[in-house]
Symmetry: C2
Subunit: 401 residues, 2 copies
């Protein structure tokens, strides 16, 4: 093993990671269980939606042209031709100068192209006074205006949101094609680690990474499978890695933080498969390992929890998304104005924690090993590898978490 890491850029590392990720198989789940799963196929509208032109207010179906210029002072006077009850229709088409009462959600009579809200009308004997003009299509959802039969209603790769669930319900998708949730093995290595329930002696620290990595994996639509703490014991590490690669679709090794531990991890991955990358030009997170055992991708994260988290966010995420098929919409990346200068070393991507509020990103300085700045921040700002830093007032992209 060489003393120095052969570092590659973050984008090279991510290309390798995306290439290693094996997309999960498709399975069908009942609609009610599909929330937050990743859609494996485009879902088409099975019908025209709405299936009829419907009102979105309580009021009168009219020909919009009959209400032109209507006002409180000079209302349009329309002949009241009856009511349509919910879920029923009428044979009576709306002729010029006529109107029919339709409740919210009700079917518009033929001839009508707009609804006047009841609040803007007055009954006057057999007539209705309309006090506000209605534009063509106002307060109406036209036949198939939302989705046309056969049209793609939701595209594959979406992590299903509450709104997406509504679309699936609307198009009658009772069995939803989603990607199977990948199993991700999690191994914490490091001689200094003790379980959370123990009081660490001097030189020891609690196993934080098992919890950070499991939660991150869960949050990204995968099933975390923890293999516990492995101390600096090659035989046990080898056995655990082999079990994990047999039982899981990917393995995340967190730590060890010392070079000896890292070398052990890299050596055993190399022995059982390939180490493709050892060292990424990212701060924090330089000693990251990317490899595989057979077809199972293995990422070696830094031992420091705060660094491990950044590597998960910037690199590991692409592995998880590649397996679940989730398409990155970039929705969690927002713009903000930097409130302080951020110096950086050229040649590596620096990730600076920020507290982002009201359009202002305030860098939280503090060492990359600290957990307390990680929980006081709500996102990170990337300082590109070619830059020596960012200046106060610059508009930056913040990746929110």
């Amino acid at each position: 093993m060489s003393l120095f890491l052969q570092v590659v850029s973050v984008s090279e590392a991510n290309d390798v990671v995306r290439h290693l990720a094996v997309p999960s198989r498709t399975e069908k789940v009942p609609l009610i269980d599909a929330f937050q799963r990743v859609l494996a196929q485009d879902v088409l509208a099975d019908l025209d939606i709405p299936g009829f032109t419907r009102s979105v207010v309580d009021g009168y179906a009219v020909r919009a042209a009959d209400t032109t210029g209507a006002s409180d002072g000079i209302p349009s006077m329309l002949t009241f031709k009856g009511k349509v009850a919910m879920g029923t229709t009428t044979d009576h088409p709306i002729g010029p100068g006529e109107c029919i009462y339709v409740p919210t959600g009700g079917i518009l009579p033929e001839g009508a192209d707009a609804m006047v809200m009841i609040e803007n009308t007055e009954l006057f004997g057999d007539d209705v006074l309309v006090k506000k003009p209605a534009a063509h299509g106002e307060n109406v959802l036209f036949y198939n205006e939302d989705f046309s039969r056969g049209e793609v209603a939701l595209e594959k790769g979406r992590r299903l949101s509450a709104q997406d669930m509504g679309v699936l319900a609307a198009v009658g998708c009772t069995e939803v094609p989603v990607t199977r949730m990948p199993r991700v093995g999690i191994i914490s290595t490091g001689n200094e680690l003790v379980p959370v329930e123990e009081i660490p002696h001097i030189g020891q620290v609690r196993d934080v990474n098992t919890y950070v990595v499991s939660s991150f994996v869960h949050e990204h639509g995968c099933i975390p499978v923890s293999y516990g703490i492995i101390k600096d014991n090659r035989e046990m590490f080898r056995t655990t890695l082999l079990n994990a690669t047999k039982e899981c679709d990917a393995v995340l090794i967190s730590g060890g933080s010392s070079k000896d531990d890292r070398d052990m991890a890299a050596a055993i991955i190399a022995e059982q498969g390939d180490v493709l990358i050892h060292g990424v030009a990212i701060a924090p997170g330089k000693p990251t390992i990317i490899g595989r055992c057979g077809t199972v991708p293995v990422i070696g994260l830094p031992g420091h929890p705060a660094s491990a988290f950044i590597v998960l966010l910037i690199i590991g995420r692409h592995l998880l998304d590649g397996m679940t098929g989730q398409v990155d919409t970039g929705a969690r990346t927002v713009r903000a104005k930097l409130s302080l200068n951020v110096p950086s070393a050229k040649g590596r991507e620096d990730y600076i924690r920020v507290s982002c509020k009201d359009g202002i990103a305030t860098p939280l300085f503090g060492k990359s090993g600290l957990l307390n700045t990680l929980v006081r921040s709500n996102g990170i700002v990337r300082v590109p590898a070619g830059s020596e830093g960012l200046e106060t007032g610059e508009i930056v992209d913040v990746i929110l978490w």
Copy 2:
């Protein structure tokens, strides 16, 4: 029942909702199950963290002052005094001009106040050449720099993130005090509704709200309990509402969309408890009902799924957060520049769907009843009640979803 709703402002509605919400009891859960639960109490650090001054790199522990001005050309020459293995310490304090090798995570010897990365050094017989100056504290985490014993490590009200889980692990919080997940009853009303697996006839629509509301409730840390579709049948509605208020901590009634249905909902809530608000100055979402049966809050959402979703996001969320104890950090609200004019009616809060990317918020016009614009957008922009609209180029707050 009056023909017109007595509308109140959104902030009045939210004050009432927050007042109605009964905070959930506290329960303790094992750390591994605490992810995404809401912390019920402040969690204190049980120890000083780190418990010893530790290195965050592989390299040499030094007195920073000994490296002042060091460079490739004129390195500082320090006497190599041995190695510290992981988890062990040395009796030999660092004197002036001395250094000791320490691996990442290792304990710094007394007298040292910085680490020089191994990459910036060269072994030269019994000496180490240091080619880059180290500042005081560089590459080191000092004793209790992250958390001091007894300090609040995490504040109550946080929805536990992956990073938060790391902090809980670090401070040895194996049994986490969280709020019990409230049960939220969900009733879909409307004569026009058919179950998702059916093909709607003309005048009918599928029950979309059960899925949208359940998912939203789940996403906000509550347990959705669906009571199915209740058609326009007062007796059945009364029975279902009574069951739901008996079995749940809150009830969300979605629909009915017609005035008759709404009146039925309001009348039966009034009969079994109180209707506090019927009508909110919000678009979409005006016919919202806020009430209670005994101590159980009941919200009547609009029947249109797209409107129901906006009311959940702007009003319903405060009920759910009030019960779970989750503190709104405002982290999902970001600034962006509006790419188009947005007209609006004065006197009500309008919520406009936008697609927000690269700092630009593009309004997606389209009727508020459409699901397709809801899934093509990634957030909403509020047009305040006192405003007649927003102008192109204006900086607006986008609530991301």
